[in-house]
Symmetry: C2
Subunit: 442 residues, 2 copies
């Protein structure tokens, strides 16, 4: 979505990992939030399946979201967009929210008008628990498509998620992170701390912290993923929305596990303002710092998702430089990590650069146009070893194969056509992915 | 490629399988050709790897081609396009050819200027064997990317492929069909016979017969596939080109095995005119009949490819009706058969229609635009059993699962938005696909 307007603001859209704030893979709770998760019985397994992320104060906080582009978008996607449209001024991309409620185990997608009514009832129940209007509740769900939400169980589960019962400590956020998961094998969270100015002129620490679920049905332009990012910085909804779109375009939109785009993809960003810093205005150095922290957190979450891809044994990172423009560089990076043949080659630790070259050549931008590249200017390296440079290069295949045993396999391409750069993340394709997904609902 | 102009000629572009000429899965040789294949030593396995399809008469015949859209297109693709451009009048889409030479085992892709020189030498050697100008030789190759063609072995192999040594019988075409294969597990051929008028007013039988290779690195907009279609009908190069584009748009462009688009995809159509029928003019009933026969042959070949997809245990056919336009219908059909989650669900005989709905909703047309569809008008059936119709339907999941054991699993969608229809073909994703492609070059 940020792709088409990307060229005009190229420098700020390319995340240079070296210049992003440091991130820790832990859920460090920003001030002004209380979170938690419980097992209410949506999942037959009895694992946690209901998560709440609530603003501690009485007032709703500024919030922004990006949603799946899938035409079969699920009931919670429609309802959250409606709520943001009712409380904000940009048609559903940002507004005000008191809390986010996530249900896992049931996607509430393709459930017809009955599913829409279920989701509205869930928001009413959550509003009652959080002590706010239903329009100040944002919802997301993940799980099987075509099944109905068990309203009685959600209602009972919400008793344990009233704000007074929620934890403002890190373990509340960790608990919520666990409750949004489905096939994830490990908890995914990331936090960054930056300094922003306060009204009194002093500098204060601001935390940006996110959690995410989703390791299958994952593809650029949002994946089957739900991410909730919280910050104690202060910013207006439209400011958050601009920063979120830019961060998502560089991170979650460049993530693929299996090429499937879900009906339920959602990223929420909520800013409590509880750090006491000055409201961040668009286009200022403070906005750049907050945006960089947000990008760093989203990038870390996306990498954790790819590394935990269903059946994956390694994270695949593709870095592209020399693109004619940002859309080209992003398209090539996405296409390489999405290629079944690249994914199986990495699984077999096979330095088959020809598959990388073929995938790059087949890349299409989101506007459907082919990418500017060709064999005469292309350069490819695998795990830091040059393998192609306008023609096949001599290299030690056994050494590359050994290097590919690492938990992260880095594929680098120089298109030789300009100065745009991009990254994308995916994982290898294994027999285990096939087994896991052949047996999912049976 | 036929996609963007497709809407204007919707009726003729939608192949109604019931109205296409009957096809037999055998290589019935059209008059005026001699074909054969040998093992010249490109493949280390010693299997056949050099195939010739030669026009029997002294004069070159009208020919047309479609090529991969991959930006890393291989040397034979560039050379064939040059030769058609030199002998025809539409810049490389059609012209005149005496014969087609296919090498298998080496793609001659990403081999730099040395690879281009190799390919030109192969064309000169073939011209000498066929007794024609190099510009009247069309070439295609398939196999590993980044390796060089062994010119001495190709040269020696061509001694057995001079026209006098080639067979004008069906076994010559079968022999050539075998020699173009790589990972295919069985020979793929299709033939149709139609009646066309002769100059003396009588009606004569005309044969359209094709062979194809390619069961991996297969995706719409041409796959890693090489198809050679021969006919003894008479038609000008530009007429052949128009008919071929239309047939490929409805068939090979709707085929996917693994989402990867190759550097070497090529479809050749050569018309000997040896049946003695009147030259087919564009826009006439004769052109419609020849086009239908061509579409029927290409459709049969595409279905044989999908059924033989690497690791596949079943052919997946997706039929879409009710599309707002042809581009929408084709996009949905392609996206459903390309979905990893649909493919693994079919592998597990899991009637998981939610994955079909999610894939349909994520479909993008070739111009990058989303498709017009939504949960309220969508209908889905699996193996003839309705499973979704604006809301989940009650159905016997065990019965659908049993029906999915068939060698062909048919998924039907009605988008409820118009009258456009399309088909696409793919196959299930199995552990065997992963094994086969993790161990390809090691």
């Amino acid at each position: 979505m940020s792709e088409r307007s990307g060229n005009a603001r190229l420098p700020s859209s390319v995340p240079d990992p070296a210049r992003l704030p440091e991130v820790i893979d832990e859920p460090r709770m920003p001030a002004g939030f209380a979170c938690g998760g419980v097992a209410c019985g949506i999942k037959l397994s009895g694992r946690p399946d209901l998560a709440a992320f609530v603003v501690s104060g009485r007032n709703p906080a500024a919030a922004a979201a990006t949603f799946t582009a899938n035409r079969m978008a699920a009931a919670p996607v429609h309802l959250s967009r409606e709520h943001l449209a009712a409380t904000g001024s940009d048609g559903g991309a940002s507004g005000y929210a008191r809390g986010v409620l996530v249900t896992s185990g049931c996607a509430n997608a393709a459930t017809g008008s009955a599913g829409d009514a279920d989701q509205a009832e869930v928001a009413r129940l959550a509003a009652s628990a959080f002590g706010c209007e239903p329009a100040h509740v944002l919802v997301a769900s993940t799980g099987l498509i075509g099944t109905r939400l068990p309203l009685d169980r959600v209602s009972a589960g919400l008793d344990a998620l009233v704000p007074d019962a929620l934890s403002e400590r890190d373990d509340g956020l960790a608990e919520a992170a666990e409750a949004i998961q489905t096939t994830d094998s490990r908890l995914k969270s990331a936090s960054a701390t930056i300094q922003l100015a306060s009204p009194d002129g002093s500098s204060h620490a601001v935390t940006v912290s996110g959690v995410v679920k989703g390791v299958g049905m994952i593809h650029p332009q949002m994946a089957t993923m739900i991410a909730v990012v919280l910050t104690d910085a202060a910013a207006a909804p439209a400011t958050l929305s601009g920063l979120l779109r830019e961060a998502v375009g560089a991170t979650f939109d460049q993530l693929t596990v299996d090429g499937d785009t879900s009906t339920n993809d959602t990223v929420f960003l909520v800013a409590s303002g509880a750090a006491g810093t000055t409201e961040v205005e668009p286009g200022t150095p403070a906005a750049a710092r907050l945006g960089a922290a947000l990008t760093a957190v989203c990038r870390s979450l996306a990498r954790q998702q790819a590394a935990d891809g269903e059946g994956a044994t390694s994270l695949i990172t593709c870095r592209v430089v020399g693109g004619a423009d940002l859309a080209d560089a992003r398209a090539v990076a996405r296409t390489v990590v999405a290629s079944s043949l690249v994914k199986t080659a990495v699984h077999g630790r096979d330095p088959n650069w020809g598959r990388v070259a073929a995938a790059a050549g087949a890349a299409r931008r989101r506007d459907g146009e082919p990418v500017s590249l060709g064999p005469e200017t292309l350069r490819i390296s695998l795990c830091g070893i040059d393998v192609y440079g306008a023609e096949p290069l001599d290299f030690d295949a056994a050494a590359v194969s050994r290097a590919m045993e690492a938990p992260e396999v880095v594929i680098e391409l120089d298109l030789g056509r300009g100065s745009a750069a991009a990254e994308a993340w995916g994982c290898d394709l294994s027999e285990e992915y096939v087994r896991e997904n052949s047996e999912y609902s049976t």
